[in-house]
Symmetry: C2
Subunit: 113 residues, 2 copies
């Protein structure tokens, strides 16, 4: 399996595991969004809690140029550590949640030149 | 083309047109997310405006049981009217942004039984 396919599978497996830990309800749906065309991957909740609208993206991961970008993480899970453990190389993990100038100091990757 | 494929194409075309009207920037990316496996479709902006993180889903549309759900619309576009005009039947358009008890009064669809 080439690197891109391996990374896609790791991201899908990771998000699928996260859903399993969620407590859903009849009115709130936990969605996995896997866009294999543009390599965008998300976990989000949507629905209704009584008359209150719920719409929250918890995790968003992109793959660009064989690097894995963590674009959003509203959970307590250390997503980068989990993806590293699952087999994504440290230099291929980019913390999109840190502004570009900080990334060289994160211990994770920077944009491949 | 069967109904489901037709609806998928209409949703994709509609979101693609919306992107064309966006003014992007070097630091803010406008993403189209097309998940054809689970039928989730989104338009969102993400990136950085200087040191401010931008993460905003503007439009989210789902297709479930051959009905098209408008789950989020943070734009000024009347998404339901546009999708109706593009060929989605009125009873197949569900305004997920209204709580379930209101939907029979929206003039659009309710969940097919």
């Amino acid at each position: 399996m080439d690197k891109l396919e391996k990374y896609r599978q790791i991201v899908r497996d990771f998000l699928t595991e996260q859903v399993a830990t969620e407590q859903g309800s009849a009115q709130v749906e936990c969605q996995l969004i896997f866009d294999g065309e543009h390599d965008h991957y998300q976990l989000l909740d949507l629905g209704w809690d009584g008359l209150k609208r719920i719409y929250a993206c918890y995790i968003h991961i992109d793959i660009k140029d064989e690097q894995v970008w963590i674009q959003r993480n509203m959970t307590e899970v250390d997503v980068a550590a989990e993806l590293l453990e699952a087999g994504i190389a440290r230099q291929d993990l980019i913390l999109g949640l840190h502004p570009p100038y900080k990334r060289p100091y994160t211990g994770y990757g920077v944009i491949a030149s």
